[in-house]
Symmetry: C2
Subunit: 407 residues, 2 copies
């Protein structure tokens, strides 16, 4: 496996899954289901393994990947999902402990990639969050569900759920559906709450619920639609911001007010480029609560009109390049027009833009901007991790926001 495939952004892993769905079905999808202790990646991390032994994405920092290829071979041959546990908590002498140094037990779900996964990637591609639900332990626990694998859980004739059963939850539609798009009537409605939460946050967790007197363990893998980053500007300095944001899994739109014809060539890392005018920002650009905005047109009037529109939108982050004094000048212009913004609107404004990393080159400036957007989008206070109370990754808990695990 090549390093570049290993470290692809998550969005590219999903894109790869999409591309391979229509193939011969020899690919195996590995998803971290649970981590006990600490590990490099967290639940929901994915890796797609093909028959030739190539993988896209990552489960660990490289220590389990060879073992996964072996396990994938078995899954490919048997044609059904398996939950494999890797214990990395052994003594240092042990091959795992020595090789990885991540003191954790990792449960990985391996499954043949079939068209049954299509509802997830299609929703993701369309910018809709989705949760993939998989029964890990059901009423046939111990049986490993041999002949039941492949059931879609919709069966009216058998209302129980079994190991390997799958459903999808689409929060926007409020619908729990089987892989073939039918209502998943066998699945309890109680799953809607945690599935919505995990889908929107892009987190994964395993929950236990009681269904008709039976204990059911369900892995809920939330695929959040990529966070949108809209960059207003078309100067050279937009390039490094776009490049680094794309690597960090943002879906990037570059908005130019200058009618450049070659925007796509200039910003090859942008998912979309739009030419418009400050007065028509709303046309075709979605300014919602999941959209982050960076304003760097370097044109005072364009910036001012853009800021005015953004501060009056639900966009949670508006980064403005330039010194504080420049925004103060803007404020004077707003005031002379009778435009005012309340504290909530102004709290979304970050100017000067970026974290204080001290760099001055175009890439260093872009690095500091993308670092700030990442921190705000993840609701983090930028500081050294060694100063953070608690654990690095959010421990996903459906009922409480407790913190925990990983790296």
């Amino acid at each position: 496996m090549t390093g570049s495939n290993w470290s692809v952004p998550e969005t590219e892993v999903v894109q790869r899954i999409h591309e391979r769905l229509g193939e011969d079905g020899t690919d195996v999808l590995a998803t971290i289901v649970d981590v006990e202790g600490n590990a490099y990646r967290r639940p929901g991390a994915k890796m797609l393994l093909d028959e030739a032994g190539e993988g896209v994405g990552s489960i660990t920092a490289g220590c389990l990947e060879d073992e996964l290829l072996v396990a994938a071979k078995s899954v490919r041959e048997r044609g059904r999902p398996e939950l494999v546990t890797y214990d990395l908590m052994e003594d240092d002498d042990d091959v795992w402990g020595l090789g990885v140094g991540c003191n954790g037990i990792i449960d990985v779900l391996l499954e043949p990639l079939t068209d049954a996964y299509r509802p997830a990637v299609e929703a993701f591609d369309e910018g809709r969050s989705v949760a993939v639900l998989t029964v890990l332990e059901g009423d046939d626990e111990g049986d490993e569900g041999d002949e039941r694998t492949g059931r879609d859980g919709s069966g009216e004739e058998d209302a129980s759920l079994a190991h390997g059963d799958r459903a999808y939850y689409h929060p926007e539609e409020g619908v729990l559906a089987t892989p073939d798009g039918e209502p998943a009537t066998a699945w309890p409605d109680d799953l809607a709450g945690p599935a919505t939460d995990l889908a929107e946050r892009g987190r994964a967790d395993t929950i236990e619920i009681e269904v008709r007197g039976e204990r059911l363990e369900v892995f809920i893998d939330g695929l959040a639609a990529p966070t949108e980053l809209v960059v207003f500007g078309s100067g050279h300095d937009v390039g490094p911001v776009t490049e680094l944001a794309a690597k960090n899994d943002f879906r990037v739109t570059v908005v130019s007010f200058r009618g450049s014809v070659d925007l796509e060539d200039r910003f090859p890392d942008a998912d979309e480029t739009v030419t418009t005018s400050p007065a028509a920002i709303d046309d075709g650009i979605n300014l919602d609560g999941r959209t982050y905005a960076v304003v760097m047109t370097h044109n005072f009037v364009d910036d001012r009109l853009t800021i005015e529109r953004l501060l009056d939108s639900p966009v949670p982050y508006v980064g403005l390049m330039g010194p504080q004094e420049r925004f103060e000048e803007m404020t004077e212009a707003f005031e002379s027009e009778g435009t005012t913004f309340d504290g909530a609107a102004l709290s979304s404004l970050y100017t000067p833009i970026g974290l204080d990393l001290g760099g001055g080159s175009p890439y260093q400036i872009a690095h500091s901007i993308v670092a700030e957007v990442l921190a705000v989008s993840n609701d983090r206070t930028p500081q050294h991790l060694n100063a953070r109370e608690g654990h690095i990754h959010d421990r996903v808990s459906v009922d409480s926001e407790a913190d925990s695990s990983s790296t």
Copy 2:
């Protein structure tokens, strides 16, 4: 000019200067000398402009570059340096003010790239910091120094200094030299102090001094040797760290303890790859006060031996991947060996590594690591830039730090 040339790391601009030194001399080097108010780049920022109108590096966010090409043509034709002032503080209606929105006055030194610049790039390439000194105003002020341009300032017969005169200061050797390597006897020794400081910090400034009763304005352009980042590890996760660090102007060495034969292929962005053992780290790897270290071998014993050596070195930053508990385990091992570290040593240790940006993908983890190294190497407290100098609406006096004009 293509965007990718515009946003190259500073190290690549210097590399490009080096490559072009031996060419036909039609290239013009532009260096920001002074910024009044605020601008995108700070003094010392460079751009190399060739005869075909292509540029490498950046002076502004794209607004002055076309004008620079015109000025470069004049400098190329006249064959001598010029100091050009761009006033970006005009009204918004003005072509500059409208186009850039960076409220500043920028002085740019344009000079034909000649072999006289070689001492600077050679020192830089060899990892030695150097200061390039240029007389902006001397005793021939107003004369523009026509026939004096090109003088090396060493003339015993004429002890005065004139517009355009140049010397180099090499802090390691404590020597002020002319471009042809002779002692620059005409230059005052007082310049050694500020030249050392600016060279080591990689900052540029203009100072005024009195020489033999005459007021002299000297631009001192410090080219700091690139900061060294040594990454211990050879897993896939080393790749994104190496890539992002190189973009941020670090000179990256990847150290593997696993004897991989294809290190250079695996980490194409590394400037150097070394295969060694934890016991022999000192051989060939420079662990000095300008070296930053990231430890991510994922092997507990290798990490421990590396950390033990690094904490006993002048390295100002030692980032260790893994949870806090892992370092606590290491500490127990150190204590059982009778090894202890004082507070100063431990204050250089950052574990878990990285800034708290909340990301979990390989690139997001790498982004947080490189952001932390940048902040520490620039002696910054990571926080939102808008929190750095008080609230947005407070009129705060801009401090006079050399780099306060960036962004």
